[in-house]
């Protein structure tokens, strides 16, 4: 499996990765809309302009079981293989690690023989994951210096603590828990790092028993979902610092550290504030010379007024649509931050050249609980921009509209009609939907995370500026 020269998709720096050729394929996680009727699938979408099947689903591989709930996924290897202290550059970016968030089953797809029809080569059963790590509900996948890092929402019983485990990036064996000392951390969701600062950052959603039957309003109103950021010693695997965003800040989800490894800051999206239903993006940054981290809210997106009739039962009492920031993405030059507002149906673009002072530079309305905004090639849409993925050169944004199956129905009671769209980004900011790229999915399937051929803006990490 080793090669003579490094995989051509590995780049030493984010600056060099931006010069990568444009992707021609996108992989998308497709989950069974009913939850028990058919297997989930990994879809392949043609994203090569000029191709006769541009914007269409050209491949689909069904999983062997029912009820996995595909969600996030990632590559076995990426640009971090070039890191100087743990080099293993002669690997291939070849396998997609695709966990079932509900089943805790982990699938390994080989995309090399036929990139348009990935081949399932390994399935790791939940019992193995539980035996090796006492974790379940695998979520984020990142290729990194020591192998494949994965987060897990809970323990084998579906309660806390969730955490991080390691997989071998050649054999895909579960190597065990990552943490040596977790300190006060109990909730898990996303995790990423500053390789230049030997620091891991992790965020909080809730344990499986708090999410799998749907969002629990009582827990939410009591501020019981996650509201901390955790900072870890990446090398020694020890908890260093917990930073409380405040109990009113419910669900700290996606983490986007600066890609430039010399920059010690990053962004975290918060789904909901209990004070006014607003959503927010927080900046974490180095506070002092001791290696402590501090946070501050840098973006706040207000809820939009609505009438009771326009709202699902969960929201009627509030007479407003919460923006629900469920995903964010940062361009490889650390210049533009994309923020998905799944509730109001908007994707926002901010210039974060000064990370303390983001300036909004773009907006695109699609779907939304009330607005139902249309795409140039569609009628009114439901769902809203949710998973957002960005090409390495920063010129193309891909969006899908499903969040998490049982939560989808709470906010969009009619059920999500899945779609994927692409936006074109102007070099100096601003974005427009590509009128020729609107992909509606089979009603039995809903799209979640998108990964781009060769890497994207949330797949790789770099050791050189």
């Amino acid at each position: 499996m080793t090669t003579w020269t490094p995989d051509p998709t590995f780049y030493p720096s984010p600056r060099l990765a931006m010069q990568a050729p444009a992707e021609t394929l996108a992989y998308v996680a497709l989950l069974d809309a009913a939850g028990a009727n058919r297997p989930d699938a990994l879809g392949v979408v043609d994203v090569q302009p000029g191709s006769s099947r541009y914007g269409q689903l050209i491949g689909q591989v069904d999983l062997p079981n029912v009820g996995d709930e595909l969600h996030h996924f990632g590559w076995n290897a990426c640009s971090s293989c070039l890191c100087p202290y743990a080099p293993h550059p002669h690997m291939e970016r070849r396998y997609l690690i695709v966990p079932g968030l509900r089943s805790s089953r982990i699938h390994v797809f080989d995309v090399k023989p036929d990139p348009r029809q990935p081949r399932l080569v390994k399935v790791i059963q939940p019992e193995v994951l539980a035996a090796r790590t006492d974790y379940s509900r695998p979520h984020t996948i990142h290729c990194g210096p020591e192998g494949i890092y994965a987060t897990a929402l809970g323990n084998a019983e579906g309660k806390g603590p969730g955490g991080i485990f390691l997989m071998d990036h050649e054999t895909f064996e579960i190597r065990g828990r990552w943490e040596v000392n977790r300190g006060p951390q109990q909730f898990a969701y996303d995790a990423w790092w500053h390789l230049g600062y030997d620091t891991m950052v992790s965020s909080e959603w809730g344990t499986p028993d708090m999410i799998e039957e749907g969002l629990v309003p009582e827990l939410l109103l009591q501020g019981k979902y996650g509201h901390y950021l955790h900072f870890w010693d990446l090398q020694r695997r020890r908890h260093r610092q917990a930073v409380d965003l405040g109990a009113q800040q419910q669900m700290v989800l996606e983490l986007r550290p600066a890609h430039d490894p010399t920059r010690a800051y990053g962004f975290a999206g918060v789904v909901l504030s209990l004070e006014d239903l607003s959503a927010s993006v927080w900046l974490w940054h180095r506070a002092n010379g001791n290696g402590d981290w501090a946070v501050r809210k840098v973006i706040e997106i207000p809820a939009e007024p609505a009438t009771e009739e326009q709202l699902p039962p969960l929201l009627k009492a509030f007479k407003a649509v919460p923006p629900l920031v469920t995903d964010i993405d940062l361009s490889l030059d650390d210049r533009f931050l994309y923020v998905s507002c799944w509730g109001t149906g908007e994707l926002r673009q901010y210039d974060v050249s000064d990370p303390f002072q983001p300036v909004q530079t773009g907006s695109c309305r699609l779907g939304g609980i009330v607005a139902r905004a249309a795409h140039p090639a569609s009628g009114p849409l439901n769902g809203g921009p949710q998973m957002v993925e960005l090409s390495r050169d920063g010129r193309r944004v891909y969006l899908t509209n499903s969040l998490y199956r049982v939560w989808d129905e709470q906010f969009y009671p009619e059920g999500i009609a899945g779609w994927m769209v692409k936006l074109d980004v102007a070099p100096e900011g601003g974005m427009q939907p590509d009128p020729n790229f609107f992909l509606p999915f089979d009603p039995a399937l809903r799209p979640h995370q998108v990964r781009l051929e060769g890497g994207d803006a949330s797949s790789d990490s770099f050791c050189y500026p």
Binding site: T2, T5, P12, L82, Y85, G196, Y197, D198, Q235
Partner: protein, 210 residues
Amino acid sequence: MGELWPWIAMLGLGAFHGINPAMGWLFAVALGLHRGQRQVVLLSLIPLALGHALAIGATLAVVALVGRMLDPGILGVGAGVLLIGWGGYHAVRGHRYRLQVGMQTGMAGLLLWSFVMALAHGAGLMLLPVFMAWLDSQQGHLSAASFPTLLLAVAGVAVHTLAMFTVAGVSAVAAYEWVGLAVLRHGWVNLDWLWSAALIGVGVVLLVTF
């Protein structure tokens, strides 16, 4: 002592380690880029070279100690088998060593890292044929009386390390100042393959010779 080939081998192997990005110069460049200081590049190479020298010295010292107790023929065959085994192991697992040393490490961490990398590569083992040739010229016994052999060994490690340091320094400065790291994308060839093959090849030569 009169023969030149052991010195050329010492120099050549040092240069080979020096040019290998995985043996240190790339780490030095990364630290220089991260701190934004070119002197960090060269300063970092010092503990990296020292760690390498210590690993080789330790290997040779162990062999010298064992060599005192063994017949030279057995030592030769043992070294051959060890080299072949190490080459095989290196081919399969050689790129997988992990230390708790990252981008925030200091000089001691770099020294430790380089020491472990050199041990793991079998850098000292590769020098065994040279070392044993010197032992042989002293009738195969490293005892208190064979001071010249010890001196030769120290000089050999010094030459080897100096060659490594020089080539690593030139590579690091060239990458940092002029070439840029894009060269890694195509230029970072799989030296691990060459190295594994060399370990096995030298092991076979030893087996045949002894």
